[in-house]
Amino acid sequence: MAKEPQAASATQYVTFRLADETYAINVMQVQEVLRVTEIAPVPGAPHYVLGIINLRGNVVTVIDARRRMGLMDKDSDDASRIVIIEVGGQVVGIMVDSVAEVIELATRDVEPAPNVGNDESSKYIQGVASRDGELTIVVDLNKLLTDDEWAEVASL
């Protein structure tokens, strides 16, 4: 008997909102979700870095997801959250408008990201999935920053 194809496998994602759109990141890379706490700015940091927070004695860099994705800035509010993620052994936080839910998406339901303009800066968009008549943008956290940028964030 042939085994079920790998394409039919499903992955769980944490969804969050940014500028009225829904984004999804692999749940396995999410460590925890925090309310917004005091973020200490870091002089000379890249523009998408909001600063650092003290997470139980560990220093964690917080990235502004809106800035990283070229969206309009927005002040944080009660719904804002810092999602603590782990990428390649590095722990960082990403500030999002709100965290929604955990969903399950079959691999076949995630269509590859369109390639309009062939912009390198959008490589972090892994694909798009349709749920309840709305589109969810699946983000590949490993490509949220380039290797050089990850190294720069690590050195803050």
Binding site: G70, A113, G117, K123, E134
Partner: protein, 233 residues
């Protein structure tokens, strides 16, 4: 006195603008036509006398190496030929849908048209992409990629005048939606009414122009193919 003169000048300017509107459009189409009409002359052939034969090399001991059979590799696929004659659909009378983009009349042949949509309000933008990519729209289970080709198709002075898009022209089985000012009528055209684009043209997205209707026919296949390849940055 001066105050009285100002509104008059302003009215004149407005009249001039109104008069200039069709002129500007005609000028742009003329430019397209000019491009089609222009055939770059080939560089003149200069006869060059063959160089003197090189001095005969000193005799060397010939070494013979066995020749291995060479497996012929098929040549790489040739790019699709650029049209200088009507494409298949244009060799017989055909219908086109006329639409406006930045005031410019564009047309797509009906055989290449998938559908028309009212511009949806809920477009999902894709961050980090080219500004021409407006986002995705869910349409009958298909994710239509909505693009604004105005920056590539319109003359610079028309890009700022573009009204908010009212319709989407769906092409390539609905994979792409071209945002446009509005959809107009359909035209029945015969091949002789169209000035087909020459292969040397600078605007490969253009199939041809129809001077009678002051419109440019889009090469839908080229557009879809190059959009897919990410060539429209």
């Amino acid at each position: 006195m001066n105050q009285d003169a100002r509104p008059e000048r302003s009215e004149k300017q407005q009249r001039l603008l109104v008069v200039d509107e069709p002129k500007a459009l005609t000028a742009y189409l003329d430019d397209l036509l000019q491009e089609i009409a222009d055939v770059e002359p080939l560089p003149p052939v200069v006869e060059v006398s063959p160089p003197p034969p090189p001095p005969a090399p000193a005799p060397v001991k010939a070494t013979v190496t066995p020749i291995k059979p060479v497996v012929a590799t098929p040549p790489p696929p040739a790019p699709p030929p650029r049209q200088d004659v009507p494409p298949a659909w244009g060799q017989v009378p055909f219908q086109c849908l006329l639409f406006r983009l930045g005031g410019l009349a564009l047309a797509v042949p009906l055989v290449k048209l998938t559908g028309i949509m009212t511009m949806p309000r809920d477009i999902t933008p894709m961050p980090g992409h080219s500004p021409m990519f407006l986002g995705l729209v869910n349409h009958h289970g298909r994710k239509v990629k909505v693009v604004d080709i105005g920056a590539h198709v319109l003359p610079p002075d028309r890009q700022a005048q573009k009204p908010p898009p009212a319709n989407l022209i769906l092409i390539d089985e609905g994979r792409w939606g071209l945002a446009c000012d509005r959809v107009e009528e359909t035209l029945m055209l015969t091949p002789d009414l169209v000035r087909w684009r020459s292969p040397s043209g600078r605007r490969p997205w253009l199939s041809g122009t129809v001077i009678k209707h002051l419109c440019a026919i889009i090469d839908v296949d080229f557009l879809a193919r190059t959009l897919e390849q990410g060539d429209w940055g």
